[in-house]
Amino acid sequence: MNRTYVGWGALALVAAAMLTVPAFNDRYMLFVAYFLALNVALAQSWNLVGGYSGLVSLGHAAFFGLGAYAAAVAVNFLSVPIAVSILVGGLVAAAAAVAVSFLTFRFLGIYFAIGTLVLAEALRLWMVNWELLGGAQGMQFPIHASLSVSTFYYIMLALAVGATAAVMLIVPSRLGFALRAMRDNEESAQNLGVNLFRTKLTAFVISAFIAGLVGAAHANRLGHIEPYSIFSASWTIGIVNIVIIGGIGTIVGPVVGAVFVALMSEYLADYASLHLVIEGLLLILIIRFMPYGIWGFVQRLPRWIAGTSAGRRATDPEKV
């Protein structure tokens, strides 16, 4: 129980600290913080399925991209305010998750990962050729109607905090038990009364909804979206990296991973020719020496130093 309060306290503290960022009037700080928030929101969304439910979706970029396009359609064709367009983005992505669930949930393990990846790629190619929504040229948002960079930052921060809070609420709940049970052993979960399809669908839809919100908010800020980059698998790879680096199946992990990746990409931006090599090398080192990610490593560190045999074993990283 105490730990729960500590968790919520920490979230409130971090959120409050992040709220002060625009006050520094440092555009670079705001820029880094914005992408940090974006990555945290997306990583938490993916962590809910990939980390807690064992549904390793490699098609997350599709939900992000659908949110972006739904927002573009809402703004351009229906002239809705930005806030409404973001909500529309989330809802469209969630609806898409329902639509593909009947197909993708038939696949297990690696086949689910490949299936979602293929569907996302198919959607990307479809969007490239769908002239109504701009085809390869993409769609624009009216630039003059856009909000200030600070406002976009607040929106993204709200999404990041909201996504984190959602995971914090779900994990210890009844649903959270079903997700984790299903992740660890699908058949055992069913033997204990868990309805697999319904549980998977719930997690998938919540996750897609968050990704859609983030995509829609980001698209409004981008001002111009086109299918190649907005549906790019690099979004998926990026957030999976963040979750793995930070610590999969933990709440703090995606935040730690996002901070790590943000710092890395900012510091390495100056070493253009080397940055891919260095990034790859760091990733390999982390996976090799910290298989539970940075946060998992930190959690295990005290017991590891103490040298107890149990120290190497994981104990409920979900709790933190």
Partner: protein
């Protein structure tokens, strides 16, 4: 007191294989039904059908008067059936308490996490896991995993409990600990179906025992009388389908005073804390066929692994022609001249029959003889010649077994270990394989035959050992043992004075 479960004409086919064959039985409220049968008899499949993992091909399953055939697993759980697995299937990254809470939250009425936590804690007490509540399941030892398996099945408060080999793989004190829990459940009137290969354990719990073979019902009776049924004895000890050994077999008798090719002396072996073999000694002399007989779980496969240095010994020694093989790496054992023909027919499915055989001739001494050995094997099993260009994976089970034997022989071994070569095969195929064994021995190869079926292996062997729960309980001349009723008792490990 009505029947809680009624199985009626239940049949399950997987392709051509009939796993459950027109099976009917019932379990009364409060009754404990034990199920026994050799490996592959369909026991676990039966559980999968009752629990809804597989849908029946035909027939019906009624639980508390309501048909559950084809229902979802989670629905069947909520109706009131719980199960355990032979190999524990815990939620590894959740704590012991959380494992049970899943059942309380989804399989039972408590929908609130706090209530579920309290209810789950009660089960921890009754199953002896209270001190492990906050331990992650992945970090538990085997006994605790088995306890958790049972506790979790209980967490949904099932009206009928399906227990699959709950004592399997445990040492005696541990088995006692679990038995105490199961006895407690029985006292409380819990209806159960129990699969257990340790017959003493099974008989201790069961009100009635149902015997399955090839997916069909053989007979049922109270535990005290079940092994008196001739058809049960035939299933385990082997029936009359194997012809007695050829009287004019042209094999030279082992030389008197010769050194054994293989000798195990006082070996103890196991896995981690689990000891599967206790002080086992056996000798195999050149040219002999030696049978090692035991029920499922007696430790036969562990013994094979110990002999071929695949697992470390806890005590004792294995000598090959008088020299310890402790220092020989596993992949070099085959170079010594020991070939294995494994349980489960591990052939390469994506290679042709001939390629599979050629892979067998990898040891240096075997390579020059590849062509002649191929001919010998084709002569032994003409079916393989017919199928030489077919992929291994497309062969029938019996043909795969022949291929596995052929592959073992390709290494030109001095000793072949046949590990349960008749497992899951049709009687006709078993007969063909057993016909080939003396012919293989006649070509000068020594054979160690590891088998469940006593009569079958005694029919072709020169000498035999009986292994029961990790100990050699009987040994002697095969022909004499064929006639000895004491073999049955030794084999079953229970007092079974058949009429």
């Amino acid at each position: 007191m009505g029947n809680i479960l009624e199985v009626d004409g239940l049949t399950k086919r997987f392709g051509a294989l009939v796993a459950i064959d027109d099976l009917s039985f019932s379990v009364a409220e409060g009754e404990v039904l034990g199920i026994m049968g050799p490996n592959g008899a369909g026991k676990s499949t039966l559980f999968n059908l009752i629990m809804g993992k597989h849908a029946p091909t035909s027939g019906d399953i009624r639980f508390a008067g309501k048909s559950i055939a084809g229902a979802k697993i989670s629905e069947i759980c909520r109706l009131g059936i719980g199960r355990t697995y032979q190999i524990p299937q815990p939620f590894r990254r959740m704590t012991v308490l959380e494992n049970l809470m899943v059942g309380k939250l989804y399989g039972h009425e408590s929908r609130h996490v706090r209530a579920a936590r309290e209810a789950a804690s009660e089960i921890l007490e009754t199953t002896g896991l209270a001190d492990k509540a906050d331990k992650e399941a992945g970090a538990l030892g085997l006994l605790d995993l088995k306890r958790l398996e049972l506790a979790r099945a209980l967490s949904t408060s099932p009206r009928l409990l399906l227990l699959d080999e709950i004592a399997g793989g445990l040492v005696e004190q541990e088995v006692d600990a679990l038995e105490a829990i199961i006895d407690g459940l029985r006292q409380r009137g819990q209806s159960m179906i129990v699969i257990e290969h340790v017959l003493r354990t099974l008989f201790g719990h069961s009100d009635r025992v149902l015997v399955l073979n090839f997916g069909a019902r053989v007979t049922d009776d109270v535990p005290e009388d079940i092994v008196k049924h001739q058809e049960v004895i035939d299933i385990y000890l082997g029936g009359t389908e194997i012809a007695p050994p050829d009287p004019d077999k042209a094999r030279p008798a082992p030389e008197a005073g010769a050194m054994p090719v293989l000798a195990a002396r006082g070996i103890d072996a196991g896995y981690g804390a689990f000891q599967a073999l206790f002080d086992v000694s056996l000798e195999v002399y050149p040219g002999e066929i030696v049978a090692l007989i035991g029920m499922n779980g007696a430790g036969k496969t562990t013994l094979t692994r110990a002999i071929t240095n695949q697992i470390p010994l806890m005590a004792g020694e294995v000598d090959w022609k008088g020299v310890s093989i402790a220092q020989v790496p596993t992949h070099k054992v085959v170079d010594l001249g020991i070939a294995q023909c494994l349980e489960g027919r591990k052939i390469f499915g994506q290679m042709t029959v001939e390629e599979n055989l050629e892979v067998g001739a990898l040891p240096h001494h075997a390579r020059p003889h590849r062509a002649e050995m191929l001919e010998e094997i084709y002569a032994l099993f003409p079916r393989l010649r017919e199928r030489r260009h077919q992929l291994g994976g497309t062969l029938s089970g019996g043909e795969q077994q022949m291929l596995a034997i052929g592959r073992a022989l390709m290494a030109k071994p001095e000793l072949v270990i046949f590990d349960e070569v008749s497992l899951g095969l049709a009687p006709r195929i078993i007969a063909q394989i057993y016909e080939a064994i003396p012919r293989i021995a006649a070509s000068g190869i020594t054979i160690l035959l590891i088998e469940q079926s006593a009569q079958r292996s005694l029919a072709v062997a020169d000498r035999a050992y009986i292994l029961e729960r990790g100990r050699i309980v009987m040994s002697g001349d095969a022909a004499e043992m064929r006639a000895d009723k004491a073999v049955q008792e030794a084999y079953f490990g229970v007092d079974a004075k058949a009429g």
